[in-house]
């Protein structure tokens, strides 16, 4: 097999490789602090600090917001990166987490999205039913900006994924797209939703995803290319195996057809006044008329049994000649 850079489209491949090298140099800068992440992992449920579970729940919220506002996957991944970096250097109280979540999302949107697609702070607050104000949000954004030194253009696993994917396709001979980028992006998003992957180096995470997909496709060609990429990125076999294992578990969870029962207790349901009125009235309460049993006769609550003895011995429904006419009527 020839070297990566010396294929037909070596111009294209060359450009990609240059970009990959650039990113490889920068990626460590944008990793969350390891000690901070350890602290989060070690936290207990009833401590007044962020636990992995809280972080994951907040990431789910951000995923919904991303989908709702139609923002790109880049925005989502960047927001998670900012969140993890901030959480790893600052001790945040759980009650400030909603505000932090919205701020990183807003900052990420402002970094990535076009002007017209950036959701306004007002809209963000309205949709996520948060109790704080726009000025609170602005203040939090300033703090994040400060603590992260304004370094928002992070190099993320998504960037690597795109580059590796493009590189792999440069070298595919018949030009058919074996690796579906959309699916890989979806899988990456699933990984972002799990705290364990905050520690991973973006290049390793991206490569793990690709490796698993290539294994699924059982394509020898692609496998070779991936090996070359791994060597080029200087990713150790040990690291790759370790993260691949975790990613594989995550994806198994992700692909399971099991649907969890949604918990809508934390959602706020606001309806217009007219609909709210309707909802109150619509449930027709127990009617005033008491039930009349079909076989027996109806007796008032305070009446004596004499009534029942008298009339229940009377013509039963089925024996009366009228029943014949009924069935004819309806036939």
């Amino acid at each position: 097999m020839k070297d990566l850079a010396s294929y037909e489209h070596n111009n294209e491949a060359h450009k990609l490789l240059k970009q990959i090298n650039q990113y490889l140099e920068q990626e460590s800068k944008f990793l969350p602090r390891a000690s901070g992440l350890l602290a989060i992992e070690a936290s207990l449920e009833n401590d007044d600090c962020i636990s992995p579970k809280l972080r994951d729940a907040k990431v789910e919220d951000l995923r919904s917001l991303t989908r709702f506002f139609g923002c790109s996957t880049e925005t989502f991944v960047l927001a998670i990166n900012l969140l993890d970096r901030f959480l790893s250097i600052m001790k945040v109280r759980p009650r400030h987490l909603p505000c932090l979540g919205l701020s990183v999302f807003h900052l990420a949107a402002k970094t990535i999205e076009e002007e017209c697609n950036i959701p306004s702070a007002h809209d963000l607050l309205r949709i996520s039913h948060c109790k704080f104000t726009v000025s609170d949000l602005k203040r939090m954004e300033k703090i994040v900006n400060e603590k992260l030194n304004g370094e928002f253009k992070a190099v993320t696993a998504l960037d690597f994924l795109h580059l590796y994917h493009a590189l792999a396709h440069c070298h595919v001979i018949n030009g058919k797209e074996f690796l579906i980028l959309d699916r890989l992006e979806a899988q990456l998003k699933a990984c972002c939703c799990r705290f364990v992957f905050s520690r991973a180096k973006p290049s390793v995470l991206a490569l793990s995803l690709l490796t698993l997909e290539v294994e699924n496709l059982k394509s020898g060609d692609l496998f070779e290319i991936i090996l070359r990429v791994q060597k080029h990125s200087k990713i150790s076999q040990y690291d790759l195996a370790y993260w691949r294992e975790l990613v594989s578990k995550c994806l198994a969870d992700y692909s399971s057809p099991e649907c969890c029962k949604p918990d809508n207790k934390k959602l706020v349901w606001i309806v217009s006044r007219r609909t709210a009125r309707h909802l109150q009235n619509s449930y027709y309460s127990v009617p005033e008329l008491p039930t009349i049993p079909e076989a027996g006769c109806f007796t008032e609550p305070e009446s004596e049994d004499s009534c029942e003895e008298m009339s229940c011995g009377e013509d039963g429904l089925s024996s009366s000649p009228q029943s014949h006419t009924e069935s004819e009527f309806f036939s």
Binding site: E60, S64, R67, F68, F69, G70, R126, H129, D182, R183, A186, A190, C193, Y254, S256, P257, E258, C259, C260, K261, P262, N264, L267, W269, I270, V271, S272, T275, H278, L279, N281, S282, Y283, Y284, P287, E288, L289, P290, T291, I292, P293, E294, A295, C297, F298, E302, S303, S306, C307, M310, S311, C312, E314, D315, G316, L317, S320, S323, E326, F330
Partner: protein
């Protein structure tokens, strides 16, 4: 003693004697009379209450006697409530007679708009003028029915099918108080007279059929449905075939009528009761609702959504699976509705825990159906409250199964791409046609400088082109200068068009001579003869009559 034996007639009574229409003995109080005499007095009082007074044409007439009747009625109500063994056999026919005389009357035509135009919140119902008396008669009759001494065996001789029929006709009264009494009265009669039950059900069905398919007007549907609710509640299991047919052929078509809002809560209750009795009826009920789903009437749509949620609250999971696909297709349409109340009500389903658990058990089938309408409308709906609800719905779906949601997203995007590609193809095809037309040698010359729009407005037939090109001698396919010749061309075309137009008109007149055909109806010879003989008789009479 003046009694009215004809039901339905009212008479004005002049106070001729000091007792008016009442006999002096009938004006005594029960307490003043020894026990053995009370029955006789009772009957007298009852008969006297058969005197009817006028409350409409002259409300102030006979005020004194009206008061006497009212007092008598009131006294009798007390009498049978607080005394036992006073309802003896001779009393029965008298009581029924009093009721019939006072109540069974032709209802006056309504002065309010009917059906859906009648807004219960705005239009006032025309109340019954004789209510001071009618109310007491109703009250009395009800106490009579509910008395512990009441014996249906004896009463059934007088409370028969004819009585019930006339009672049912009163349900069309505009006065809600009257309908309320009628409801309770019929309810008690249905409860106590087993022999009349089938007849009552049949007659109610007839009323409903007439309402749905003929008149769409009846004021008492809600009250009748309330009675039916208590009957349905008491059905024995397994349900009789007759009752199932009633549900499918009567209750469900009642959803079609325009004035559904008047009786919808009661109707929904009946339907849900049926489903609680027999869950196998779920599929036909839900499919019928979807069939009758309103397409242009939004308040009605909200009502349907209310009813559907109540049905889903009691639905069995096995039945849910049978109806979920068409149901959620309709729900998807509701969620996308531009009417904010419809969209809100549909989205509020996501707040129902039981429905959400049903959805999560069947997410693989349901999510792809709901997905496009939720995804598409997230930001584009004009109403801001809807945004929040859509966000909640999307979030719940996302958390149900992340992969399923992502797959739906991908599929949605792929379909959108396909649509865009098709549109582009179509545009390109049109462009090709246009270019082909431009390249046609006959379009060169005068029309070469025209825009494609102007070209498309010209008549395309070959002859026309010949007409234009020849007279001005512009045969050469050389590019023309824009100014002078072009104006000539326009005038030429205008003239040609005018000629053509007049030509067309002439053709029209030539082609279609005015022919009007009268329809000939066959005439019945007997009818003609009868009419003729009738006329002749009139001539005879007028000859003798001296006007």
């Amino acid at each position: 003693m003046l009694t009215c034996n004809r039901a339905g007639s009212r008479m004005v009574v002049d106070a001729a004697s000091s007792n008016g229409p009442f006999q002096p003995t009938g004006l005594l109080h029960f307490r003043d009379v020894p026990a053995p005499e009370q029955e006789k007095l009772f009957i007298q009082k009852l008969r006297q209450c058969c005197v009817l007074f006028d409350f409409i044409a002259d409300p102030l007439s006979d005020l004194k006697w009206k008061e006497v009747k009212r007092a008598a009625l009131s006294e009798m109500v007390e009498y049978i409530t607080h005394n036992r063994n006073v309802i003896t056999e001779p009393i029965y026919p008298e009581v029924v007679h009093v009721f019939a005389v006072n109540m069974f009357r032709t209802l006056p035509p309504s002065s309010n708009p009917t059906g859906a135009e009648f807004d219960p919140e705005e239009d006032e119902p025309t109340l019954e003028a004789a209510w001071p008396h009618l109310q007491l008669v109703y009250e009395f009759f009800l106490r009579f029915l509910e008395s512990p001494d009441f014996q249906p065996n004896i009463a059934k001789k007088y409370i028969d099918q004819k009585f019930v029929m006339q009672l049912l006709e009163l349900f069309d009264s505009e006065d809600p108080r009257e309908r309320d009494f009628l409801k309770t009265t019929l309810h008690r009669i249905y409860g106590k007279f087993l022999g009349l039950r089938a007849y009552i059900r049949k007659q109610i069905n007839n009323i409903f059929y007439r309402f749905i398919y003929e008149t769409e007007h009846h004021n008492g549907i809600a009250e009748l449905l309330e009675i039916l609710g208590s009957i349905i509640n008491g059905f024995a299991l397994p349900l009789k075939e007759e009752h199932k047919v009633f549900l499918l052929k009567v209750l469900l078509p009642l959803h079609k009528v325009k004035s559904l809002s008047v009786y919808h809560p009661q109707l929904a209750y009946c339907v849900v009761q049926f489903l609680e009795k027999d869950s196998t009826l779920t599929e036909p009920v839900v499919m019928a609702l979807l069939k009758y789903w309103p397409k242009t009437h939004s308040p009605k749509e909200v009502m349907f959504l209310n009813e559907l949620e109540e049905i889903l609250d009691v639905i069995e999971p096995s039945e849910f699976v049978k109806v979920m696909e068409p149901l959620f297709r309709q729900l998807a349409k509701c969620v996308s509705s531009p009417h904010f109340q419809v969209a809100e009500r549909a989205l509020y389903y996501w707040n129902n825990e039981y429905i959400m658990s049903l959805i999560s058990d069947n997410a693989a089938k349901i999510l792809p159906i709901m997905f496009p309408s939720l995804y598409r409308n997230s930001k584009t709906h004009w109403n801001k409250t809807i945004h929040g609800l859509i966000y909640n719905a999307l979030k719940l779906f996302m958390e149900m199964n992340q992969k399923l949601f992502d797959d739906c997203t991908q599929q949605f995007k792929a379909e959108r791409q396909k649509e865009k590609a098709k549109l582009k193809e179509r545009e390109e095809a049109w462009l090709k046609i246009e270019n082909l037309a431009k390249a046609n040698p006959q379009t060169l010359g005068s029309f070469q400088n025209w825009s494609s729009l102007e070209l498309s407005m010209c008549p395309v037939s070959k002859n026309q082109y010949q007409l234009y090109i020849e007279p001005s001698g512009m045969n050469s396919p050389v590019a023309m200068e824009t100014d002078g010749p072009l104006i000539d061309d326009i005038q030429m075309i205008r003239k040609a068009v005018e000629d053509q137009a007049t030509q067309a008109q002439k053709d029209l007149r030539k082609d279609r001579p005015l022919v009007r055909r009268k329809s000939e109806l066959p005439q019945d010879i007997y009818t003609v003869k009868a009419l003729e003989s009738h006329r002749r008789a009139e001539e005879i009479i007028s000859a003798h009559d001296g006007h």
